[in-house]
């Protein structure tokens, strides 16, 4: 029954297009030797595991996503064969590796059914299992179907897996929509089902089998992973086997897509990945051994494992590719130290014995003996601190003393108020916890005690007592955690050194300083040498710890003053050179240059509403980070001794508390949300750890170096968790991109000093982020040509529209909004970016680029129609109306103080906003209520200006879901009277000049081509048509119109006029890019020229990268850069003409 299969070829029209670059979901990953092979759209990427770098890229299945790769098993060491498949297509390739890896396509087939699995039987034949629950045996040599068999249960299957390596021995596992797993063998043309495994409560998305453990692993729509054990009566004889469900795992919070089985001597694990973006590992018994958040929470589409290396590779819907190591959870240490003071009391007995104190370091005890004399009323009973002579005498009979300790205030007694009695201990409350360098924890009690414990013991030891520190004290620790300070209400600071060794807690009092006569409001260590204190009147003093001979002295070096405020002290501070950065409780950030002045050089008032929680310099880059109770992280930079805000980003943490700069992990934020402690990576934007802890109001501490150590108090005990940092690191082979559709894109151009051009892509997505990426080289084969520069996460909802204009020097401003001005000087270029979208939010951001790098990015203003969340909560107005969304935006810049933003809104209102660089505010200047349907598009075009009178005339076009285009005239006049718009007023009309119908339904895309007095508007609609409308502005009418019905298979979502040729590019959700030729002489017409099939799903639009080179970028679920090869096209046209008229000569 051999049948000819179709061999797919690149259709002629496609040959004129070349894909340059794409970013989209990673649909397939596979380990091969020390390489990782990944299918990213229709492009095969090959990475080297050792270098973590890309080795090569190749477009394989043109326009079809790659879903699987199967290697021929008995391949030699230098070359191999593989089938690469996706959808109904598959290619046979040869893979050779001699130093580098090389993939060559031998043949490509097109089947008529979606393929779920491919398995080689021998070098000349392979089997495929299709969505219609059939298998086909293919012969490579003849490119034909050798045999076909169907399962008797004929239905659509959602997954399939082939076991065995020959037609007679193979077994087929498929998952149906009817929630069953079917197992069958291709014995007949219609073969019987051997087993029907019931249990899942939804469609089955994957079935996997491990022959070593005879385990079937299935993943499903019902969010479970299920394990089924196959018990063979005779080995590998499925017909007589018995199969039982052994585990049902509810470990994912969404659908589970794939599984992978690790099984060798070292590692035995089952890996599952799902729609929830979680990577989980399970034992065969179903116990969880790993849970990791990956791919920014987007779906994880593909997973593979390399058991011997203990590696996992995942591919995400965000387009990222990550390598993970199979970590062992036993490396995580957990401990609880009960808050039981009895052990301390026992210590007192021990340590107060005379021979114990004799052991103490005499020099210290002398120093301490003097200082801890009666005048200080302090008592330090043990070990490192020793007991001063006077004290030890009096405490020699400790048991008696303990009995006699009282809480009375007899002033004469040395032990007055001492809380050494058990009851006083018991009513002491824990105030602070600090982790010290040695790996011990020190706790302070509100009655003035310091206790210590090692992290792995369960016993507290009393370290120190001084009643001056009862009720109020501040315990803090130096940056490397070697030094601990204790500050009091009467201006005293005690300095201790951590002298513990592993397992024993020991601190030494180094010195005592009286820094003030009154309360110390705050104390923060800036390094191991310097700490800053804040006392009355906002006096900030920097104290340096200096070791002199055997003793330590503390000297005051710098001082400065905190501006007056309600709560005039610090909550955090960081020092870089002599640049001091600090924050306070009301949320202000202060920047001091101590070299030049003791006054604050910059204040960012209440920038972190609710309080600044931490600030941190990165000394290497001169940049800084701050976090606050507002739930934001801000990224700062120092420019000519000035602090500038670079970026603001919302944290996934309600109450961020600390910033770490870690060698391995980069910038890490620690904080709390509800009763969880969260550790989050700024670099990767993902939560590394989430742990129940009872919340941040309790005492806690955290350090991060080679280990992450968390300690917190819960249920009267100190909980300790200690994780190796490697647990959190993964290697990113390919950086993730947007995790949902890209709704809009705008391109900014920059030039480097030596004249090199760069394209900066700004993409706004449904995932609420704005990404800025630069393209350095337009070549698919080049190693790295696309750099993700930064992600802006400040929108509260999806970003639907973007517009950008340059605003460099004032004199060049006026004509910058027209896209024709493409001449830029090199050096820094400042762009003004307007982003708008869901929840009727608009933001204006300034972006300064130096060649392909971001120099500076600052959010200048933000506006929400119904006010921000804060003000809204108080109003509590719920009109029941859905909140409006901005669907499109355009912008005009008359001067830096007169920027006008035009928005198309889903409620049918055209809104015009004014923005000024001075006030940095966005305000509504006009609302035009004309359309009664959602406005999908808006376009502003300057038509003329009168420099003398300072009058600008603009053409405005609006397009709606009803298929109507409205043409408006907008006039901007100079009127220095009008304060708001800083010299310009917009005269907004209430009715358009004229309107016309262009489509049966929504107008999704448009482009405008001016032709002298006339304009051609090209529109693409929901009705799959393209319409050209020719109109004259002066005559206020539509002159002619042409509609090409069914230009695409689906709604036309992008349309662009070429600059130097009468050509139009269009694109649609049907994933095609079509090039058309148009004429506009006596009649308008449109003719099909060529097309390209993109891998990008759900295409939302089309933009030019280089209009003169015919390079376009389509975007939707990812983006692809495609160039139309005009030369090749022209040549082929010429040839065709020649061949048609051979007699012409």
């Amino acid at each position: 029954m051999a049948a000819e299969a179709q061999v797919s070829e690149v259709p002629i029209e496609r040959r004129f297009f070349k894909s340059l670059f794409s970013r989209c979901r990673v649909s397939c990953v596979k380990f091969l030797d020390h390489f990782i092979i990944a299918g990213v759209g229709d492009v095969l990427h090959i990475y080297n595991i050792n270098t973590k770098k890309i080795e090569s890229k190749k477009q394989i299945l043109q326009g079809q996503n790659i879903y699987g790769i199967t290697f021929l098993e008995d391949s030699s060491e230098v070359s191999s064969r593989a089938i690469i498949w996706g959808g109904k297509e598959f290619s046979m390739v040869s893979v050779s590796f001699n130093g580098t890896i090389n993939v060559t396509v031998i043949d490509t087939w097109l089947d008529n059914i979606w393929i779920w699995d491919v398995k080689w039987f021998d070098a000349n034949s392979f089997l495929t299992v299709g969505m219609n629950n059939s298998v086909t045996l293919w012969k490579c040599s003849s490119k034909s179907k050798e045999s076909i068999a169907y399962c008797e249960d004929q239905c659509i299957v959602y997954s399939g897996k082939i076991i065995g390596a020959s037609w007679t021995t193979c077994v087929i596992l498929v998952g149906t929509v009817m929630q069953n797993i079917l197992i069958w063998k291709p014995t007949d043309a219609i073969s019987p089902t051997l087993f029907t495994l019931k249990g899942h409560k939804g469609a089955i998305f994957s079935v996997n089998y491990c022959p070593k453990s005879n385990l079937i692993v299935s993943t499903s729509d019902d969010r479970t992973v299920r394990f089924w054990k196959v018990n063979f009566k005779t080995e590998n004889d499925w017909t007589t086997a018995n199969i039982a469900l052994t585990s049902t795992i509810f470990g994912h919070t969404a659908r589970v897509w794939q599984s992978a089985i690790l099984n060798d001597s070292k590692n035995k694990n089952i890996i599952s990945v799902g729609e929830d973006g979680m990577l989980c590992a399970w034992t065969e018994k179903g116990e969880n051994t790993m849970r990791k958040e990956a791919h920014q929470g987007a779906s994880i589409c593909a997973v593979d494992v390399n058991a011997s290396a203990g590696l996992i590779v995942t591919g995400g819907a965000d387009g990222g590719l990550c390598l993970w190591s199979v970590t062992n959870t036993s490396e995580v240490e957990t401990n609880h130290i009960d808050f039981n003071f009895d052990s301390c009391l026992a210590d007192i007995h021990e340590i107060n014995k005379p021979q114990q104190s004799a052991k103490c370091d005499t020099s210290e005890s002398v120093i301490l003996g003097k200082e801890l004399s009666k005048e200080f009323n302090s008592l330090s009973p043990f070990s490192s601190l020793s007991v001063c002579r006077a004290t030890s005498e009096e405490t020699s009979a400790s048991s008696d003393l303990l009995k006699n300790f009282s809480m009375t205030n007899s002033t004469n007694s040395l032990l007055d108020g001492c809380a050494f009695c058990p009851s006083a201990f018991r009513c002491s409350n824990l105030k602070s916890l600090v982790l010290v360098k040695s790996g011990n924890v020190i706790a302070s009690l509100d009655k003035g005690f310091l206790l210590g414990s090692s992290l792995n013991s369960v016993k507290w030891k009393l370290l120190f007592y001084d009643r001056r520190f009862s009720n109020y004290h501040l315990l803090s620790v130096s940056t490397s955690r070697k030094f601990v300070s204790l500050a009091s209400i009467c201006g005293t600071v005690l300095l201790f050194q951590d002298n513990s060794s592993y397992g024993t807690v020991k601190i030494t009092l180094l010195s005592e300083v009286q820094i003030s006569s009154s309360k110390i409001f705050s104390i923060h260590w800036l390094s191991d040498e310097i700490f800053v204190t804040c006392v009355a009147e906002g006096l900030l003093e920097l104290w340096h710890r200096i070791d002199e001979n055997d003793s330590t002295v503390v000297e005051r070096h710098e001082e400065c003053v905190l501006p007056a405020s309600k709560e005039r002290w610090l909550t955090c501070a960081s020092l870089s050179g002599l640049h001091l950065l600090c924050g306070d409780r009301i949320g202000s950030i202060y920047f001091y240059n101590l070299e030049t002045s003791m006054n604050v050089s910059q204040t960012f008032k209440k920038i972190h509403q609710g309080g600044v929680c931490d600030v941190r310099w990165n000394e290497e880059t001169g940049e800084a980070y701050s976090i606050g109770r507002d739930g934001y992280i801000r990224h700062w930079t120092k420019n000519d001794d000035k602090l500038e805000l670079l970026l603001t980003e919302k944290l996934p943490i309600k109450w961020p508390t600390r910033i770490f700069l870690n060698q391995t992990l980069g910038i890490i934020v620690h904080g709390f949300t509800a009763n969880q402690v969260i550790v989050w990576s700024y670099n990767e934007r993902k939560i590394l750890l989430r742990e129940e802890c009872g919340g941040g109001h309790r005492s806690w501490d955290c350090i991060l170096n080679e280990k992450l150590v968390l300690v917190w108090i819960k249920d009267k005990s100190v909980h300790v968790k200690c994780y190796p940092v490697d647990n959190f690191s993964n290697s990113v082979l390919l950086e993730g991109f947007h995790c949902k559709e890209i709704n809009s894109l705008t391109v900014c151009k920059t030039i480097s000093e030596d004249g090199e051009h760069f394209d900066i892509l700004l993409t706004g997505s449904e995932d609420t982020t704005l990404r800025i990426s630069s393209i350095t080289s337009l070549n698919l084969d080049s190693q790295s040509n696309f750099f993700d520069q930064c992600v802006v996460r400040s929108h509260v909802s999806s970003i639907r529209a973007l517009a950008s204009i340059t605003w460099g020097r004032e004199e060049t401003l006026n004509n910058q909004h027209s896209e024709d001005s493409t001449t830029f000087s090199s050096g820094n270029i400042e762009y003004l970016i307007v982003s708008a979208g869901g929840r009727a939010q608009i933001k204006v951001t300034s972006l300064t680029m130096a060649a392909s790098k971001i120099k500076k990015m600052v959010e200048l203003a933000s506006h929400m129609l119904r006010g921000d969340d804060r003000s809204r909560r108080t109003e509590k107005q719920d009109s029941g109306e859905p909140e409006a969304r901005y669907m499109a935006v355009d912008v005009v810049c008359l001067s830096r103080r007169a920027v006008f933003i035009f928005t198309a809104c889903s409620d049918g209102v055209i809104r015009i906003f004014h923005f000024s660089d001075d006030s940095r505010k966005i305000s509504v200047v006009a609302e035009i209520y004309y359309h009664e349907a959602c406005i999908l598009g808006i376009r502003i075009k300057q038509i003329n200006k009168d420099d003398q009178k300072k009058v600008f005339r603009f053409l405005m076009l609006t397009m709606t879901t009803e298929g109507i285009v409205a043409v408006w005239e907008i006039v901007a006049k100079s009127s220095s009277m009008d304060k708001l718009s800083c010299g310009y007023t917009i005269q907004s009309p209430t009715t358009p000049l004229f309107t016309f119908h262009a489509h049966q339904s929504g107008i999704n895309s448009h482009d405008l081509q001016p032709l002298g007095d006339a304009f051609i508007l090209a529109t693409g609609g929901d009705d799959t048509a393209i319409t050209l409308s020719y109109f004259l502005l002066d005559e206020k009418c539509l002159v002619k119109q042409f509609t090409f019905d069914c230009a695409h298979e689906a709604q036309v979502s992008g349309i662009l006029f070429c600059r130097d040729n009468p050509w139009i590019f269009t694109t649609s959700t049907d994933q095609r890019i079509i090039l058309w030729a148009y004429t506009y002489g006596t009649n308008l017409s449109l003719q099909y020229v060529a097309e390209y099939q993109s891998v990008i799903a759900d295409i939302h639009g089309l933009s030019f990268l280089d209009p003169f080179k015919y390079t376009v970028c389509v975007y939707g679920c990812g983006l692809e850069l495609v160039t139309f090869e005009k030369e090749i096209y022209m040549n082929s046209v010429r040839k065709e003409e020649e061949s048609l008229s051979p007699l012409q000569e």
């Binding site: 004929q154 069914c1046 298979e1049 097309e1091």
Partner: protein, 247 residues
């Protein structure tokens, strides 16, 4: 499985609640009928992929409006999932791509043929675009297959489709069996979704083209110029309240 509308403020969601429909998709069928008058004279109808049942509700309400108990239209609803009973609707639980389900439906009709077949089926949407479009076309192929066995000559067929790379193929397949095919997106269908409905009029009857069992047995690429095109029709000014401000 259609995910229920997330947006509770959705106009159709509210309307459906008010009017007692089980799902907002009821309006799609209502609007299709308003536009194309599909229910006129219909006595026997099959609702494929019917759960949770709002289309069946619409069918029962419209076809049995002024009728006596014993003169009711015959409505057979089929779905993978069980659904709550609806008076006057016969239910079959099964996979429409499975041969057994098809024979169950045929059995219900007892040799007679249906006047109208509707299919609002949607596969498990995976978010993997090409797979979703493909499995939708497979579901459509099954629906068409059932239609060919069950629809009377001159009968009509309404089926949900997903716009995708090979939409044209599906259209041309429908054109083989029906006199007229129109692709239509009712206003209540979200603009953001890729769904549309193929409204197929005047079934040519069985016998012809029985060899094209499988919908997509031909190659993918059809030059745009000479496709057999189905006209796209937008319903003009239906209800004022539909004004697509909900887009």
């Amino acid at each position: 499985m259609v995910k229920c509308s997330k947006d509770k403020r959705d106009i159709y969601y509210r309307l459906a609640k008010d009017e007692g429909w089980r799902a907002r998709s009821a309006f799609k069928l209502i609007q299709i009928d308003e536009r194309f008058n599909l229910f006129a004279g219909v006595q026997k109808v099959v609702d494929l992929c019917a759960a949770p049942g709002s289309w069946s509700q619409v069918l029962a309400a419209r076809l049995n409006k002024n009728k006596e108990k014993n003169d009711c239209a015959k409505i057979v609803a089929v779905d993978l999932q069980a659904m709550a009973p609806i008076p006057g609707v016969i239910q079959i639980q099964g996979d429409i791509t499975q041969a057994k389900t098809i024979s169950d439906i045929i059995f219900q009709f007892n040799g007679e043929r249906a006047d109208l077949i509707v299919c609002d089926g949607a596969p498990d949407v995976t978010g993997i675009h090409d797979l979703d479009v493909y499995s939708q076309s497979q579901l459509l192929a099954s629906a068409l297959n059932i239609t060919r066995h069950l629809l009377k000559q001159g009968g009509n067929f309404v089926a949900k489709m997903f716009h995708g790379a090979d939409t044209s193929l599906i259209r041309s397949q429908f054109n083989l069996f029906f006199q007229t095919v129109v692709i239509h997106k009712p206003p209540s269908s979200r603009a953001s979704s890729i769904e549309a409905f193929a409204i197929c009029f005047n079934f040519k009857g069985t016998g012809s083209n029985s060899e094209s069992e499988n919908l997509d047995s031909s190659s993918l690429v059809t030059p745009v110029a000479d496709q057999q095109l189905a006209r796209y029709l937008q319903c003009g000014d239906l209800n004022a309240l539909l004004a697509s401000s909900t887009t």
